[in-house]
Subunit: 186 residues, 4 copies
């Protein structure tokens, strides 16, 4: 049997005990045997700035790029800040996209789960992220879309998912993601 | 005669000698007498993270929020990174939008100039920014839209704008902006 | 006292007994005395095609353009079709935008109410519409945003709004719209 | 050898002698042997309206749906109207997406070529179309993106493509599309 594929999980919130982290944990527990999910940290990355690259590439950028390169696929779990992608997550995309010709995102299949405390499920962040992924040549799973609304009501005080409908949805989502990766990986 | 209104200029690129900076300088020189434009730095701001706010608001956030509060209007000058807004600029929006109920952007008129080395003029960044500004309740000038393409060909080696058509366009843009601010300021 | 301003209401759905129609009726009943809202039909408009304009402008286009011209402001009430604006409503925008130099939308203040049977409230349609309105130079109210979700549960079998929270929200929305129009009308 | 796959070409402009038609012709001539491209007309389709479906499905809808069903993939060639998708093309998407559970778009790979007389290449229409295709579960080719600007200068008076760079780009685009279809078809 093949070794499971390493899948890099990027979380849009930097909070220690965020709902995004709980959601990511749930998704990781639902991964089919063909995938092994691991979170890659993004909060330590300096803002992308080409002047820095020209002088001496920051060590955090090098390590992050290396981390994504070893992954076979990417899973984004993100809240919405002001109807778009949180800056820390956008910065991770920008850092990984450079230097020219060396983007770590190229042809790496991905899926997106967006969530919000409100009903709307971070639709704006989800689709702004997708626009960047067109340019980055990331085959992005279309269906099922995952807009997780009222996310604060889905977990108990230990961070455990307690909503049955959401559990079934996320399990089906991860299976669909595995199929998508299988079909579109290079 | 009234004192000129202070207008805060936010630049999406952190590069020292960026084309965005040259473009911002040109725009500042074309400001009508009713406006005084000044650049507010954004590269020093830690990523927004609500945990930090809860512990002790970072001094850079406090200073930045104070800086924007004193302005009567905002001018965005931005490149496009991966078909969307550069992370540093998105972070400035996020930092200024908090804490809840205290957003510094609320009802502050703005205009957007986006630019790219390619022909497209950062259309993607321009409109992603606009989506955030809906949520932030920022009256955003609609016309003229400013997509400055082939920006590398517009300036000489001293950073001086040498394209006549662009000069006239930017002058008209600044006049329209002044009119828009006059009409929509609170 | 001034005559109330004529406000043109455009409805994105062509269904006879649509929830959009009920929602539009509710909004019309909440209009402040300074405004008189009337629905303008859009389903009869042939698709925009410049060849037709060159031959002989269709009578329906001429009548629609004239109708919008007489209005001082525009209110959009729309569902979402496939994460974007329904074709009939997009066509109304396109027809009204021509011929070159004669757009009927120019500088006409507007507001948008989007609605869906799901929780998301047609966020995608709402913001795609806003992107067109940038080009059309329509000052569009930013806040309050109106994403009306679960719209099927808000009305009784006679089409009467029975949700108190929604009623209060829509009343406040109409008052804010009146203020916005007052501030941004030419 | 396998029979070439039927690929349905949808053109966003209804003009008889449109640049979109010339562009579509060029793309059709560059199709690799594995594909046979044919234009499907969309201008005759009544606006989508669920009341019509409930009464008696219009014959044009039935024929169009049948036409797309027989295709193995879809190529969109479109201008931009008011920073978004032309209504006739959006309507074709809407008509093909219904009735519930019977969408003809589901899992049908596609690619998008957008074009404009200006420099921007209809970026807005291109990405609004992509947002609909997420919902419709259409695997959409990410790279190369095709924003064809200054389209009026690319063809001679007989509608023949006379720009070498564009020819090479479109040939590479069609080959990439064939590869994408091969990888993602069901």
């Amino acid at each position: 049997m093949d070794k499971p594929m390493n899948v890099c999980v990027l979380i849009g919130s930097l909070r220690k005990a965020s709902l995004n982290g709980m959601l990511a944990n749930a998704l990781m527990s639902f991964a089919p045997p063909s995938m092994k999910l691991e979170i890659a940290e993004i909060g330590q990355l300096p803002f992308f700035n080409q002047d820095l690259e020209a002088a001496a590439t920051p060590a955090q950028w090098t390590a992050f790029r290396q981390r994504v390169k070893t992954a076979g696929a990417v899973l984004f779990v993100t809240p919405e800040y002001n109807r778009s992608v949180p800056a820390a997550l956008k910065n991770a995309l920008d850092v990984g996209s450079r230097p020219y010709g060396g983007s770590v995102w190229d042809r790496k299949p991905c899926a997106i789960v967006s969530r919000s405390p409100s009903a709307i499920g971070a639709f704006g962040a989800n689709h702004h992220l997708r626009q960047s992924l067109v340019f980055l040549n990331v085959p992005t799973m279309q269906q099922p879309e995952a807009y997780v609304g009222h996310a604060d009501k889905l977990f108990d005080e230990h961070g455990k998912l307690v909503n049955d409908g959401t559990r079934k949805f996320l399990q089906a989502f991860m299976q669909a993601f595995a199929n998508w990766v299988e079909r579109t990986r290079s």
